[in-house]
């Protein structure tokens, strides 16, 4: 059984192909780059996706040395995400399904992150920190569903870092903004106090962004020290809420995924925290941590094997598709 997955919920366009045993046959990705100094423009990103998707699909098939006839199911991201971007993936999936007469499975994007992490990290029942430019959530399985134990009450952590980088005039042409900030932070030495905002198991970053933007304007501190202080603060917050979820759920595995999961400092902190509780830690490599088509293909396959498939009429996207909306019948209660 082979599944082809299409991911297009934000700035990444990805197509992946995976088989029943979790063998990765292709994982191709292209990224829409907004003009320097601005964020993702949903319509422009969707135009990028629409223009590139035929080639990305062909490239994935070529890499895997397969043709569409070999593919058994088509998976796509139903949501959450940016409407115009999601629609491109859904249209492409419908077109392939109709042309080649394949069943369709629309999947939940955050759950796809969790499931690819469980597969590659060989994890059974992790507490998951999902951190990216569009999402910040602590997810764990409980009573038949994935549930959000904590999340941002305003902007995602990746967005906070990106906007800081742009305000500082940093360029993300050569490396993702998070990586640029991480490299600067490695040379930071002085900690500048920044608000630390935790509310129960939730976090908030918008006040921190305002504060750091003001510090930036003062020009009293080096970019290295500001990057260091910002990273240390927001990551400490994320690790603390993950720790609380771990203690609360009494699980013994910690997984990090999403674009910000590429950050080595965040991974190191999570590892120390997990090990202090006797828990195992796993961080995905960037090709699988960042939005990708493979994770969509894999979740689609799991769900199809459990009897899920999405009739053509119901392949509408859902920008607000919640993690809790999905009945998880492929996992045992624990």
């Amino acid at each position: 059984m082979l599944s082809l997955g299409i991911e297009s919920s934000a700035d990444k366009l990805g197509v992946g192909i995976i088989d029943n045993n979790g063998n990765i046959l292709a994982n191709v990705r292209r990224t829409y780059k907004p003009p320097l100094g601005s964020g993702i423009h949903p319509r422009e990103a969707s135009e990028f996706h629409a223009k590139n998707i035929p080639e990305v699909i062909s490239e994935a098939l070529k890499t895997s040395k397969l043709t569409m006839d070999n593919i058994d199911i088509i998976s796509f991201t139903k949501g959450p995400g940016l409407g115009p971007c999601l629609r491109v993936g859904a249209v492409a999936a419908r077109t392939l399904a109709l042309k080649y007469k394949k069943p369709l499975v629309g999947v939940n994007h955050p759950i796809a992150h969790v499931e690819i992490g469980r597969l590659v990290g060989n994890m059974d029942d992790p507490v998951v920190l999902y951190v990216s430019g569009g999402n910040t959530q602590i997810i764990a399985f409980s009573e038949g569903r994935y549930r959000v134990f904590g999340e941002t009450i305003d902007i995602p952590v990746g967005n906070c870092l990106d906007v800081f980088g742009r305000n500082a005039g940093l360029s993300d042409k050569k490396a993702p903004m998070g990586r640029v900030i991480e490299l600067l932070a490695e040379n930071g030495t002085k900690y500048i106090p920044i608000p630390y905002v935790i509310k129960g198991m939730d976090v908030s970053f918008s006040g921190i962004l305002t504060h750091i933007s003001k510090l930036l304007k003062k020009k009293e501190y080096t970019l290295e020290d500001l990057s260091y202080s910002l990273q240390e603060t927001v990551f400490a917050m994320l690790v603390e809420v993950t720790e609380r979820a771990l203690a609360h759920t009494k699980k013994n595995e910690v997984l990090v995924c999403g674009g910000v999961a590429s950050n080595n400092r965040l991974k190191a902190m999570l590892k120390v925290m997990a090990e202090s509780h006797g828990a195992r830690f796993f961080g995905l490599e960037p090709s699988l941590a960042i939005d990708n088509g493979l994770m969509i293909a894999w979740l689609g396959l799991i769900m199809y094997n459990q009897g899920y498939s999405t009739p053509l009429k119901e392949t509408i996207i859902d920008q607000h598709y919640r993690v809790e909306d999905v009945v998880v019948n492929w996992r045992n209660e624990n």
Partner: protein, 224 residues
């Protein structure tokens, strides 16, 4: 002999070490905020010190707002330690999950909790971590604990977030009856706090803002 206790340990096990001790003959809890190796010492020191002091202040001030809390016997901000009264009670979480009591009694209790939270907010006290694990029942009276994430504030936003923490806790921990419980909570809240309506309106806005939700998805769960 010191005895480690599981008293409320599952929730705060992450942050502090709780030990049951005798303090001048009284049964007491020693709460020590432990150092975390994953964060830099500047942040670690700041958080542990700040939370120890804030918690002690809030525990004491809450009593003036007619909300029961453990008596604070001793605070040592250098050792990040609070020694406080041991509360021999049941977590509200366990009470709500118990099958011994019918839903009417449970709704009444949620209304009582709402009243107490209204009193805290009317006096500008923010709990910061309102969950059914952080409220105990002793001799049919509610006792609020764990104010470590709290603060003194008159901001509508801070109070709204407090209310939302309770709502989220009810959804995740008491999935079956969460909507009824939250309605009862709100009834109590607006009865003891004249500005309660305004806070609930903001809570809806905050809830719809951060999550993948729209206001119309959840407005029916509020009573304003």
């Amino acid at each position: 002999m010191e005895q480690k206790t599981s008293y409320n340990y599952d929730f705060w096990g992450a942050e502090a070490e709780l030990t049951k001790i005798k303090w001048f003959g009284l049964e007491a809890i020693k709460k020590v905020r432990i150092s975390k190796k994953y964060r830099i010492s500047e942040i670690d020191e700041m958080l542990r010190k700040k939370r120890t002091i804030t918690e002690a202040k809030l525990l004491i001030t809450a009593k003036k707002a007619k909300v029961q809390t453990p008596f604070v016997y001793d605070v040592d901000s250098k050792k990040r330690t609070i020694i406080m009264e041991f509360i021999d009670g049941t977590k509200v979480k366990d009470f709500l999950k118990s099958e011994e009591f019918d839903s009417k009694v449970k709704r009444k209790l949620m209304e009582e909790i709402g009243k107490k939270v209204g009193l805290l907010h009317a006096n500008h006290l923010i709990h910061g971590d309102l969950t059914t694990s952080n409220i105990l029942l002793r001799n049919k009276k509610l006792v609020f604990i764990d104010f470590g994430l709290g603060k003194f504030s008159n901001e509508i936003e801070d109070k709204a977030v407090d209310v939302l923490l309770m709502k989220k806790c009810l959804t995740s921990t008491h999935a079956e009856d969460n909507k009824e419980y939250f309605i009862s909570f709100q009834k109590g809240y607006v009865s003891s706090y004249t500005k309660g309506d305004e806070i609930l309106k903001r809570a809806l806005k905050v809830e719809a803002r951060g999550r993948h939700l729209k206001e119309e998805d959840v407005i029916s769960e509020y009573i304003f």
